[in-house]
Symmetry: none
Subunit: 209 residues, 4 copies
DNA sequence: TATGAATGAGTCTTCATTCAT
DNA sequence: AATGAATGAAGACTCATTCAT
C-alpha cells in the first residue's frame, strides 16, 4: 500500500490500533456510511490527517478492523480444536458435546464482545467483494480444520463439507439470536440445547462404529 | 406521511409502482448507498422531482419495496400451508416431506427472483431498526402459522417456537448458498437433502403418536 | 464525457458560458491552483453543485475556457488570411505589410482582451500535457495555413515551417510585451515597427522574383 | 527573514544547498503545486522539519533555486561578453557570428541542463510577481551589458533596447524548441541557422560604417 | 540541531432534496 | 402533476506547517 506506514514504535502502534479499534467500533455500531472520518479521528483522539498516514482510505480502516476481528474469532476456535487434538485419546460423543458447548460459548462471547459488528460485517460482505472473500476463506479454513478434527477422532461424516456448513449456519443463527435478542418470544437456553441436540444428531448418525 | 400521496388513478399508480420496483431493484443490486435518486428516477423513467411526491425520501422507496417483497415471499408460503390445511385429512411424515420440499423450492425461487435483494435486505435490517422490525414480524407471523399448521396435523413440537426458528435459519442458509453459490466446494443437491433430512429429524422426534 | 451535459436551452447555455467565462477569467487572473471551485461558482453566480453537471471537474472548466479562447484567437486570424485569399489578384510586399499589421493588431487585441490569460495558459501548457497539445496543434494548423497563403501569392519560402515558427515567436513576444508592459524601458511603437521590419526581411529575401 | 537561518558551517550549508537543488529540480520537473514539502525533504535526504529552519516556506525554496539558476545562466553569458571585451581589438561581423554562436550554444546548454525548469519558471513568473521581477531585472542587466558591448565594438544600433529584446526572444524561442522538441516538423539545424541569419541581419543594417 | 509524527484548515466533489417553470 | 436544473450542506482526503522528543 503506497503512502501508508505501519509503525513500529510503541506509541504509533498504539495510535494506529486505537484508530482501528474505535473506527471499526463506530462503523459496526452505526454503519459504515454513517460514520465519518472526522468522527473516527475524534473517537480515536487523533487528527483527521494522521488517519491517512496509516490507512489508504476510510475503507482501509474497516478492512484492518475486519482482519483483526476475523482472527479474534477464528483463532480461539482453532485453539480449542488443536488443544483437544493434542490428547492422543480419541473423543467420544460425550466429549464432542463438551467441545461443542465450549465452541458455542466462545462464538457467542465473540459476538457479544464485538456488539453489532457481525451484522455490519455481513452487510459489508455483500457490498464489497473483497470483504466477502475474507469471510468465505475464513469459513473454509475452519471447515477443513473441523473435518480433519472429526476424522482424526473417527467421526467420519458422509458429505462432511455440506454438513459442517449447515452446522456452521446453525451456530451462527443461534449466536445472532442470543446476542441481539431479536425475537423476544424465543428462550435462549432452549435454543442452545436444541441446536446442540441437532448437531449431535447430525454427527451421530454418521459415526463410524 | 406529510407531503406524500398514494395515488388512485391508474397512471399514477403505475408510476409509483415503477419507482418502487426499479428503485428497490437498483438498491438491492448495487447497494442502498451506491444508488442515487436520479438513477432511480431514470430507471423508472420518471423525473427526479416526482419521486418526492410519492415518497418522503429515498428511504421511503426502499421501505415500500421491502414491504412488497416481504409479502411476495410470505404470502405464497402461507398459501401452501393454507391449501394443505383445507384438506381435512391429517398429513403424515411423507406429506410433510412433500410440503417441505415445495416450501423450499418456493423460497429458493423467491431468492433467485430477487437476485441480490436478500443480502442487501439483511444489511439494511441491521442499519435500520424499522426494517429489522419488518423482518422479525414477518418471521413471527409465519412461525405461528407453521406451528398452528403442525399442531392441526398432530405434529406437536416441544419448544415449537425455537425449533421453527432454527428450521427457518436452516432453510434461509440453504437458500443463500443455492442462490449465490458462495462456496464452490458445496454440492447443492447434497445440501438440500441434508437440510430436509435434518428438518425431518427435528420434527420426527417430537411427533405425537 | 460521462455525467456532463451540454445544454441546449438558452438559459442553461448562458449559465454554462458564464461558468466558463468567469472560471477561466479567475483562473487566468490569479492562477489555476489559487482559484477554488466555490469562488468560480460565486463569480458565475451559480451554486457549487451545478458546476459538476456541466463539467467533469475543475480542470474541465479550464479546458473549455482554453478551447474557446484558442478559437477566439485562431479563427479571426484565419479569417484575415481567407478574406485576402479570396481576391484573385496576387499580393505584393506592400499588401503583405498591411496584412501583417492587421494580424498583429488582432493578436494584440486578443491578448489584451483576455488579460492575463496567455501567461496562465503557457503555465498550464507546461504542467498539463493535453493543454500543451492544444497549443501545438493550434500553431501547426495556423502555420500550414500561412504557408499555403504565402505560396498562393508566390511568396515561396526556403524552410517555410521554421521561418513561420520564428515569426510566430516574434509576434508572440511582441504581444506579451505590449500587453503586460513588463519592461518599462521598451517603446512599444518602436518594438512593433522593428518586428514588422524583421518579418518583412525574412519574407523578402525568399521572395520569388 | 524571521526564523530562517543561513548557515555558515559546512555541513549545514551542504544541507541547505541540497534542499535547494533537489527542491528546485522537483518543482521544475513536476510543477510547483504538484511537489510536496515531504517529497522535497525526502529527495534532499533531510527531515521535513529542518526545511523550515532554512526557509520561511515552500515558496522560499523555489525563490532561492530561481536565484541560483538565474545566475548560472546569466553569469556565463556575461563572461563571454567580458572575455571578448578584454581584447582591445574591435570585433567585426565575422567575430559577431562566432560570439552569437557561442552564446546560443551556452543558452541551449543551460536549458538542456535544467530540463523542464524554464517552462516552470515562466509559469511561476506569471503567478508570482516577485519571481517575474527577477526575470525582468535579469534580462535588463544582460541587455544593457550587450548594448554596451556592441557599442564598444562600434556596432551602434538604432533602438538598441528593443532590438536586443527581440533578439532575446528569438534566442529564447529557439532554445525552447531545441530542448523540448515540441514540434516534430521543425528541423533544429535549420532553425538555428535561420535565427542566426535573422540576428545578423538585425545587427548588420544598423552597423555604423 | 534534527526528526518525522501530528495537525487541521482547506479542497474538490457528491447527492438528497427543492423549486421555478 | 411533472420536470430536471439548481441548491448547498456534508464528506473524503491533502498538505504546508508545527512541535514534542
Amino acid at each position: 500500500m503506497p503512502g501508508t506506514r505501519i509503525p513500529k514504535s510503541g506509541k504509533a502502534v498504539a495510535k494506529r490500533d486505537r484508530i482501528i479499534e474505535k473506527g471499526f467500533e463506530l462503523m459496526c455500531e452505526r454503519g459504515y456510511y454513517k460514520t465519518t472520518t472526522p468522527e473516527i479521528a475524534k473517537a480515536a483522539d487523533v487528527s483527521t490527517g494522521i488517519i491517512y498516514q496509516y490507512f489508504n482510505d476510510k475503507r482501509g480502516i474497516f478492512m484492518e478492523g475486519l482482519k483483526q476481528f476475523s482472527n479474534s474469532v477464528l483463532f480461539p476456535m482453532m485453539d480449542i480444536l488443536d488443544a483437544t487434538a493434542e490428547n492422543n485419546t480419541k473423543i467420544d460423543l460425550g466429549d464432542l458435546e463438551k467441545i461443542l458447548d465450549r465452541l458455542m460459548t466462545l462464538i457467542v462471547q465473540s459476538h457479544r464482545m464485538t456488539q453489532k459488528a457481525h451484522e455490519e460485517l455481513e452487510m459489508m460482505a455483500h457490498a464489497d467483494e473483497e470483504i466477502g472473500e475474507i469471510f468465505k476463506t475464513s469459513e473454509f479454513t475452519l471447515t477443513k480444520k473441523i473435518v480433519a478434527f472429526l476424522e482424526k477422532n473417527d467421526i467420519i461424516l458422509e458429505n462432511p463439507i455440506e454438513k459442517i456448513h449447515i452446522i456452521y449456519g446453525l451456530v451462527e443463527n443461534y449466536c445472532h439470536e442470543t446476542v441481539y435478542h431479536h425475537h423476544a418470544e424465543l428462550n435462549n437456553e432452549v435454543m442452545r440445547s436444541e441446536v446442540i441436540k441437532i448437531i449431535k444428531n447430525i454427527l451421530k448418525e454418521s459415526l463410524v462404529k
